[in-house]
């Protein structure tokens, strides 16, 4: 069953409690953080508006990072994008392919939020959700989360006419359903990101076709090689026999 986060930017107060809980709960080393909160200030005094952009993995259904990962270190599970750092080769293709610029190389290996795999499998809820003091974060089944997000967006429209749900369809549907107070561009989110077609073709078409072509050619060459070598040996034997009978007197030069 697909799980998802709810992230209500209308309720985020930028307190960084989630950042800290994520770091301590997941025992992230110094210098590594899976959530970054950026304060946004828009407009000119005295007509200032603002909010807090949460930069974190959005767990795309059509995850570009997963489609380009050559080792399977990045993979989808329960609607979330997991990362097995032990399987990562550090190629960095995910870093270049993510439309939200989320994964980073840390100690030479890809690093990003894995939806608190260990914690949730042990029956807990993700650290960021658990610690949020203002109800900006929730975690649960995606359908339920979507329903809640729509209700929240609807309620916000009284104050923010452009309030909307983000993540229902983007990149195949996100595993982090966001409630925005304004259009996606205003908070710096792409309206409709798609992983480039080539990025999908590369792992799902080019690679299996390559492996298949090499394997089939090798097998065909092996079989044909045995037959062709036999043919060639026969023709050389014939030639040598002809040479011996023809060149009994002179040098074996005339072929």
């Amino acid at each position: 069953m697909a799980q998802a986060f709810l992230l209500d930017l209308g309720r985020c107060i930028g307190c960084e409690a989630c950042t800290v809980a994520c770091k301590t709960g997941n025992e992230l080393p110094s210098g590594l953080s899976y959530i970054k909160i950026n304060e946004q200030v828009r407009g000119a005094y005295p007509n200032l508006e603002g909010g807090f952009d949460n930069h974190r993995c959005l767990h795309c259904t059509d995850a570009a990072c997963v489609s380009v990962c050559p080792t399977g270190a990045l993979y989808k599970e329960d609607g979330l994008t997991r990362l097995d750092r032990d399987a990562c080769s550090g190629c960095g293709y995910c870093v270049e392919s993510c439309p939200y610029e989320v994964p980073v190389l840390f100690d030479g290996l890809s690093s990003k939020c894995d939806g608190c795999k260990e914690t949730t499998e042990a029956g807990g809820i993700p650290w960021c959700v658990k610690t949020c003091p203002n109800g900006a974060l929730e975690y649960g089944e995606r359908e339920e989360i979507l329903r809640k997000a729509r209700i929240r967006a609807e309620a916000l429209r009284a104050h923010y006419p452009n309030a909307q749900v983000y993540g229902e369809t983007q990149a195949g549907g996100l595993g982090v359903i966001m409630v925005l107070t304004d259009d996606p561009e205003v908070v710096g989110l792409p309206r409709d990101p798609h992983p480039p077609l080539m990025a999908q073709a590369w792992q799902s078409v080019v690679q299996p076709v390559s492996i298949g072509a090499i394997g089939a050619t090798a097998v065909a060459a092996g079989v044909a090689g045995v037959i062709a070598r036999r043919n060639h040996m026969a023709e050389v034997k014939e030639l040598e026999a002809a040479e011996v009978s023809a060149g009994s007197g002179s040098e074996a030069e005339e072929v």
Binding site: A87, A199, A224, H232, E235
Partner: protein, 232 residues
């Protein structure tokens, strides 16, 4: 220019590849296999675990340096050989074209009826030409992935990876063909000891043997003088 004793009449063998050429070939072959194996772990899922940690990438880059060094090493150690290889591989005469038309019996092990070939038959020329050109695309795309990965953009990166993969796919198919003909025409000695059986050379490269004999005759008649090397 010392090409004189490339035919050994006593043992009926002919020198096909000099030591420098065999060394360059070994460098090319070993670096290619190293690159193929360390690349394959990223291409084929069941081998993916071998790429974990990134050691295979370091070996791949080491192999890449050797691979890129191949043409330079050839030019430095055997300028004539390198020039001859490139020239011959991109020049097809009338016999070569006829040879290509009749390629199927040759593939099946029948060399006897083939139009006469020179030092390289038309198949080898095509093989060399393709390897030279595709090596260029594999090297360029590889260098882009090594040094400019983060400035290609997500679409650009995907294109370059696909170009790198397809180039390597083609080179690997050419390698399969290369091993195939080496086996069918028991040609391995040319690259191990450098010498091939005279009977094989006469059958598969008659124009080349005739050339060598003409050179040998010329140098024998003009004893002591420098044999003219650039015949034709």
């Amino acid at each position: 220019m010392t090409v004189v004793t490339s035919i050994n009449k006593e043992e009926h063998v002919i020198l096909r590849y000099r030591r420098t050429q065999r060394s360059v070939h070994f460098l090319l072959a070993s670096s290619f296999v190293l690159l193929l194996l360390t690349g394959l772990v990223l291409l084929w899922d069941p081998l993916g675990f071998l790429a974990a940690g990134g050691a295979s990438r370091m070996i791949h880059r080491f192999g890449a340096v050797l691979f890129i060094a191949v043409p330079l090493v050839y030019l430095v150690t055997d300028r004539e050989g390198a020039k001859e290889l490139v020239y011959d591989s991109f020049h097809f005469d009338k016999d070569d074209r006829a040879w290509l038309v009749h390629i199927i019996p040759y593939v099946l092990g029948h060399a006897e009826e083939m139009p006469p070939a020179g030092r390289l038959n038309a198949g080898q020329k095509l093989h060399h030409a393709a390897v030279i050109l595709i090596s260029a695309t594999v090297v360029v795309s590889g260098l882009l992935l090594w040094f400019f990965k983060s400035s290609l953009g997500e679409t650009g990166l995907a294109w370059v990876v696909v170009a790198h993969d397809i180039s390597m796919l083609l080179l690997t198919l050419f390698l399969v063909g290369h091993l195939y003909f080496t086996y069918v025409y028991k040609a391995i000695s040319g690259m191990t000891t450098g010498w091939v059986e005279e009977v094989d050379a006469r059958l598969e490269h008659p124009k080349w043997v005739a050339e060598l004999e003409a050179e040998a005759a010329a140098s024998a008649s003009s004893e002591g003088e420098q044999p003219p090397h650039d015949a034709e």
